[in-house]
């Protein structure tokens, strides 16, 4: 007899910096929210999209889940704000952004540029000014961002799906095989070597002609489209 109870899975990876290792945990958590259980049941993210109830989604999570992890899941599952999704700064951004050193609004040259253009513009009144700001926020949400490896902030927010999870595992295995135990002069060198490897890997065409990046972007776009469908049907 084989029990269908919880299975402990141990994975061993190598990361160039501690921050990357810690972010990989967040990345996997994001993947898990979009993972559909067997059968026709919805993912945790879909439960929240359709009900707006984070508690209901978390009630599906096994009770042995550590409280800290549950807290992180709760934060990730929160409904998005109607304006700019600035929480994207604190998401992992998936495998394409796993090794990018942490950055935030203060480093965001794109948003700073958009904001200063808005500030320099003359508007008919305060209402028009606020409307323009709201439009700008939506534009930022939906525009590929150079610091998110070309993902839009919305694509970062929605998290990766099962295909990206598989690809991330593939890359991390390859990375460990190449660099584990190898001496580096500094953290910076290890980081740059890792990122160089990543950017080559993401651009390599697969059998179907799609690159890894194409696959990831398509999956995240599909998740966003599904989210939009569920949200509109649940209203």
């Amino acid at each position: 007899m084989v029990s269908d109870g919880p299975v402990l899975e141990v994975r061993h990876h190598w990361f160039p910096t501690r921050a990357c290792g810690e972010r990989s945990f967040l990345m996997n958590l994001e993947f898990s929210l979009n993972q559909r259980p067997e059968g026709d049941r919805p993912s945790l993210a879909e439960v929240v999209w359709s009900t707006g109830d984070v508690g209901q989604a978390l009630s599906i999570v096994p009770p042995f889940m550590p409280r800290e992890t549950r807290g992180k899941m709760r934060r990730l599952l929160q409904p998005w704000p109607s304006g700019r999704v600035s929480d994207a700064y604190s998401r992992s951004g998936g495998i394409l952004n796993l090794f990018t050193p942490p950055w935030g609004e203060a480093d965001d040259e794109v948003w700073a540029g958009m904001l200063s253009a808005w500030q320099a513009e003359t508007f008919a009144g305060d209402h028009a000014r606020q409307e323009a700001l709201r439009a700008l926020e939506q534009q930022w949400n939906a525009t590929p961002h150079p610091f998110f490896a070309g993902l839009t902030p919305s694509q970062v927010m929605v998290g990766g799906g099962p295909r990206e999870a598989g690809l991330a595992g593939e890359f991390l295995t390859q990375l460990a095989r190449m660099y584990e135990g190898r001496p580096f002069e500094s953290e910076g060198e290890a980081l740059i070597k890792t990122l160089t490897l990543l950017r080559g890997w993401q651009s390599e065409p697969r059998r179907d002609g799609w690159t890894v990046r194409d696959i990831i972007v398509a999956e995240r776009s599909a998740l966003l489209a599904r989210r939009a469908r569920v949200l509109s049907s649940s209203r």
Partner: protein, 239 residues
Amino acid sequence: MSRTPRKRKRTRQARSRATPAYRKNVRQADDILAKEGVDIRPDNWQQLALDWFVPDEPERGELARYIADHEPQLGVAWAREVLRLEVFFQAKDYSQVIAHYERALSRYPRCALVEMWVADQFFRHQGDFWRARRMYRYAIEHLPDQGKPYYELGFMSYLLGDFSGALGWFHQAAGRVSEDDVEIAARIYYNRGIVRVLAEGDREAAIADVEEALRRKPDYPQAQEALRGLRGKIRWVPW
């Protein structure tokens, strides 16, 4: 009334960050300078800083302009810190370069040349991309004719996965690099070639760029390998 104690506290904290290893390295740098017969005085500090830190044009002219602009705030003590920095660079002690920049040189008006060189250590040694990025941007603002900061921002954009942004920076770097800058020119053309394929799929242009890199620097194994790859089947894994 309350400002003075806060300031004192900050100064004490800053001093306490000077580790014994840092102080030892500074003493060693001073020993090296003494052995070289360097005697920094009020009548020669400018000359020594120029001769040691930037012996060649156009950087020499840039530093001379910086000194002229900020002379009252500089002097013998500043020149000593610059010479120590140069010793750390020559010793390839990059952690010490960063520590010395933070502890000693950040007290003086920002010098675009110093920022440009120290930024490399933040970027490539410490992996602090965002600090380095601000420093390179400062260098571009004050040294618009230098190709190096454009190149570094191009390389950083590539690492961040922004290939079209990288291409833009590399174009700007290529427009500024001179025939004499063999090392940096070769790197600009090589990297632009690689990114041209990734961003635009333009293999012909990429081959032309890598060939240009090899014309500038024939002994460039990565470029030789890339050229073979571009003429055949591309393998992107960089080992």
